[in-house]
């Protein structure tokens, strides 16, 4: 194993540790929230019983995951190349995809179907490095026309084309 391999080995350990910690955190949160509702007894369970138990189980599982953290190099036969593909965070893509959905919600509320469909396609298209603004524009226009014809006109979707609030 070269240096890259060593780096990967650390990150692999950490991935399981953080994953386990995440599960513990969610489990604790769920249990804490579950305890806010009445717990009841086994015979007469309150609404808090089930979520609290689930939270506790999740915490245990989280510890289990962290305890059995494996070295990725030895993890079930991952071919070496697999590590090369987990790698650089794809901020631009992620941001554009999430931003597209946010734009759909916001423009759907204060704008209507027309701007919302255009925005979701246009913004998310920019997530891909191969898309130019021209190709994104063409794609977004096509989809918007489709939205109007198929969803608004043909399927009678209850979504005003243009609206304010």
């Amino acid at each position: 194993m070269d240096e890259a391999g060593a780096g990967r080995f650390l990150s692999g350990y950490r991935r399981d540790y953080y994953g386990g910690a995440l599960m513990c955190l969610i489990g604790l949160g769920a249990a804490a929230q579950g305890l806010q509702y009445s717990f009841g007894s086994l015979t007469r369970m309150g609404p808090g019983f089930f979520p609290t138990c689930l939270g506790a189980i999740l915490v245990l599982l989280g510890f289990g995951i962290a305890a059995t953290a494996k070295r990725p190099a030895l993890r079930d036969g991952v071919p070496d190349g697999a590590a090369a593909e987990r790698p650089r965070p794809e901020w631009r893509g992620w941001f554009c995809i999430l931003g597209g959905i946010v734009a759909f919600v916001v423009l759907g509320k204060w704008g209507g179907l027309l701007p919302a469909s255009f925005a979701v396609t246009f913004i998310s298209a920019f997530g891909d490095r191969d898309n130019t603004w021209k190709s994104a524009l063409v794609l977004a226009t096509t989809i918007t026309i489709l939205a109007v014809v198929v969803f608004w006109w043909a399927l009678q979707l209850q979504f005003p084309l243009l609206s304010w609030g």
Binding site: L61, D76, R92, V105, G127, S135
Partner: protein, 529 residues
Amino acid sequence: MIGHSLADLWQGFGVALEWHNLMWSFFGVLVGNLIGVLPGMGPLSAISILLPLTYTMHPVPAILMLAGIFYGSQYGGAIGAILLNLPCHPPHAVTCLDGYPMTRQGKGGTALGITMIASFFAASVGIIVMIFASPLLVSIAFKFGPAELFSIMLLGLLAGGTMSSGSALKGVSMTVIGLLIGVVGTDVNTGVMRFTFGFNELADGVELVALALGLFGVTEFLRNVNRVHAVGSGVKVRLRDMRPSLKELRQAFLPIVRGTSVGTLFGAMPGTGPTITTFIAYALEKKVSRTPQRFGNGALEGVAAPEASSHSKTQVDFIPTMSLGIPGDPVMALILGALLIQGIQPGPQLISEHADIFWGLIASFWIGNLLLVLLNVPLIQVWVKVLQVPYRFLFPAALFFIAVGVYSTNNSLFEVGEVLVFGLMGAVFVAFDFPVAPILLGYVLGPMVEENFRRAMLLSHGDLGIFVNQPISAGFIVACALLVALQAWFATRAAIRRRGGQAAAAQAQAPSPNDAPRDPKRPTLVKQR
């Protein structure tokens, strides 16, 4: 009883062949096939995108259409796996191993043809098993009380979590997350709002479509963006190429039969996903073959057996889903959720109360699979074209369909926001190597698990012993314990072996079927070979 089943089946054909039912079934198969072929889209995304369409439909055509989408997209996925080495749906990862080498040898058409024959044969066998096993299972299921239902659901959840791919602990914790998501909303017994965080929109719980599209749509896009590029392989498949020769048919026949039996056997077990089934079928073929070295280099058996097993598994999976109301895998959970939305509670009563749905569905399977064969012969060239749709156009368009689809469920933008949250959540889990599919299983079963646990405790006056005192329930609990023990044993053995053979493991090892399913969704993983 068998005669009765056959009479019902006859009636079912009547239902399935009604003009509008047939039309929707055809539509489902066609669209499912189309979406399945698209790179990065599997049955889960196909069904969840089209689920909102069914809300206004009558339950019978709705479920026929969804089933059509399901096997249509499953078959469509095989096309991508064989021609482009892109497994969009985990079960097809195995098909890639031998399917893609066949394509490179110019025998892609033959592989597709054999896949078609294998899936049709396997589906037929699965349907026959379904016809005879369902009434049998139903007669047992009527004896089920809350304790039995809880135990069998527990088994299903455990199996669904542990038998998917990757670490068993991670799978189970995802199932628990799903159960927690199922808790969100108003508690049926007391009317208390749980986990709503002040949002009135969450009082009815999390929307199934929003969860599914977030986890299988948005999460996939977040993971694949700028990483998947459609690589036109320049393959030309002609109709003529798809017809396998007599020799190839004879070569594929026994593997198909073996694959089908593996699929049928495992289909009966709740929770064993199709991925495991295909890997077992592949391993079995390799083991019985006289020339195992051909596997991985374009062995016809390596395509025929896994495809057959996944298709028969698919059909048999409908048995517990429809007759017990317990889905075997996430896709079934989605179909179950769709039935619940239609106001139909799957379970032993389904067959008596909604005989038209049950038998119509079985009959439509046959018709649908036949349609699939008929469709794919003339349309194969179209599918090859569709395969080359660049991802950069695909995902923005799909994102729009997701947004509009979720909105149309309840005309609510809040649910589009839910998609965003679940998509982000799924992406975080995926980054930590958690499988997201068990979440859906947990979500759909969650309310039922809680309800039955509560009822069982009420009946037994808080005595947990009820789960082991009743014989049927005890059987399921023993099965759960066995499952956990087996998983623990396998994990320890693997750990010991690993420690022993670190040096050997560091080298590139021969691909063994147990190794690969860690995350077969990643195309690169398979490209290594």
